[in-house]
């Protein structure tokens, strides 16, 4: 069935179809319409779940962690400052190996208050042990939320997963989305089997004092799971493709086969870059797009082009573009652009211009430094 709706409503629908037992949520722009919609599903009896109206995002994540530790499938959604407030608990979910699934609607960080798209909020969570997906369309939002559960809950992975997409550009923009039958989703997504559980018949303690050596083993186990997740993400993305007709992986390559230059972008920027690639191809330029779908685990092996142009809608102050710095050793010529922070519009024409600048050997803040 084709539904035309905003990414937020689509995310809420996907969460509903994944049948979480517990939702703990707190409002924040531009995420709010997700948790509003979920509250409506629960109150109308369309979704059988406990909905905890928490008093902060920190508590939202704490509640999801505790519910997951009690054996429940969980969901929450947040944005920007809400995600930053959760930061401590994101680590907690990761190290406790609890497969909480969350949607983060990317929004700039204040001050001053800025509610528009910027990827710094979720990229700042890169070391928390969460699998991170970035979606470029509402269809990808739906498909990624469903897959996120299956990947996070995989018995060899058991890590939390976050699906991120741009505030307003996606969150409040309606697009057509193909939504599968509930029965097909149920076939794809098995019941949650926790890796460990708080059970009165088997009274374990989780998280007491851990001496240095076992602590390091816990970290090592988490790293191995993250590495394994690369394979699992591709396998589950392929399985999803066979079942629903849309295949997913760690990255999406577009017209890269004979490309001299490859543009690397994420989220909505990647959708715009696709248009730029088509335009440039029409002009005879040999250029392709490499869309980064997963930022954690980071698919270095899939980012091995000789000449790459990286567009970051984020900034690590004192270092530069976050994605650029991840991959700057992967090719012989890597050009980095910082663009679109705080929701500055970046059109396909701007991306074409960045391509021209890169060919001239230029890079930097666009259009602040180079234009």
């Amino acid at each position: 069935m084709i539904i035309v709706d905003t990414a937020n409503h689509i995310a809420a629908l996907a969460a509903k179809m994944a049948k979480p037992h517990v939702i703990a949520a707190y409002p924040i722009t531009p995420q709010t319409t997700i948790v509003e919609r979920l509250a409506e599903y629960v109150e109308k009896g369309e979704l059988n779940a406990e909905y905890i109206r928490v008093e902060s995002e920190h508590s939202a994540m704490a509640a999801c962690i505790a519910a997951a530790a009690t054996g429940a499938r969980t969901f929450t959604a947040t944005s920007s400052h809400g995600l930053l407030l959760m930061h401590e608990m994101l680590h907690w979910a990761g190290l406790a190996r609890l497969p909480v699934v969350m949607v983060n609607v990317n929004r700039a960080i204040g001050p001053g208050w800025n509610i528009w798209s910027d990827l710094n909020d979720s990229l700042a969570q890169r070391d928390t042990g969460w699998i991170q997906f970035y979606a470029s369309s509402n269809q990808e939002v739906f498909d990624s939320v469903i897959q996120a559960y299956k990947i996070a809950e995989n018995e060899e992975i058991l890590l939390p997963a976050m699906v991120s997409y741009d505030g307003f550009i996606l969150s409040h923009t309606s697009m057509p989305v193909e939504v599968p039958e509930q029965s097909k989703i149920d076939e794809f997504l098995p019941d949650f089997k926790p890796g460990w559980i708080l059970d009165v018949e088997n009274p374990i303690t989780h998280g007491n004092i851990v001496p240095p050596e076992p602590y390091m083993e816990i970290r090592y186990s988490m790293q191995k799971a993250m590495e394994k997740a690369k394979k699992v993400i591709e396998e589950i993305g392929e399985e999803y493709g066979k079942k629903f007709g849309r295949e997913y992986g760690l990255v999406e390559e577009y017209r890269c086969e004979d490309a001299d230059y490859v543009i690397v972008a994420m989220a909505a920027m990647a959708a715009e870059a696709k248009v730029a690639v088509d335009e440039l191809r029409q002009k005879g330029e040999k250029v392709g797009l490499l869309k980064l779908r997963t930022f954690r685990p980071f698919p270095h092996e899939r980012l091995k082009h000789d000449k790459m142009i990286v567009i970051d809608r984020d900034i690590c102050p004192g270092l530069g573009g976050i994605v650029y710095n991840e991959i700057k050793g992967n090719g012989s010529e890597i050009y980095g652009f910082i663009a679109g922070l705080g929701g500055v519009d970046v059109s396909y024409k701007d991306i074409e211009r960045m391509y021209e600048l890169a060919k001239e050997g230029k890079e930097g803040w666009y259009p602040t430094e180079v234009k």
């Binding site: 190996r97 890796g195 460990w196 374990i204 989780h206 076992p214 816990i218 186990s221």
Partner: protein
């Protein structure tokens, strides 16, 4: 998967009786079996048998049992070595 899961174990911190400087000794002739020593022991180191039995493997020697005994049946004695 390895995470911070721990299993209930007696002596999770080892034989905590080694922490002791003084040890309690019960005079069973005086004991009236009120069980105050048992309930107030922070270490659960007083067993309820016929009469109170101190588990010296785990008694940390705090002396609460001696302090709460209404008939002064528990004496604290310095450890020998």
């Amino acid at each position: 998967m390895k995470t911070a899961i721990s299993i209930p174990t007696e002596g999770a911190m080892g034989k905590t009786g080694t922490w002791r400087v003084f040890h309690p000794v019960i005079d069973l002739n005086k004991c009236i079996k009120c069980w105050r020593c048992w309930i107030f022991c922070p270490d659960a180191a007083i067993d309820r048998n016929e009469h109170p039995v101190i588990d010296y493997d785990y008694c940390k020697g705090c002396g609460i049992c001696s302090n709460v005994c209404p008939v002064n049946a528990i004496e604290m004695r310095r450890e020998e070595k």
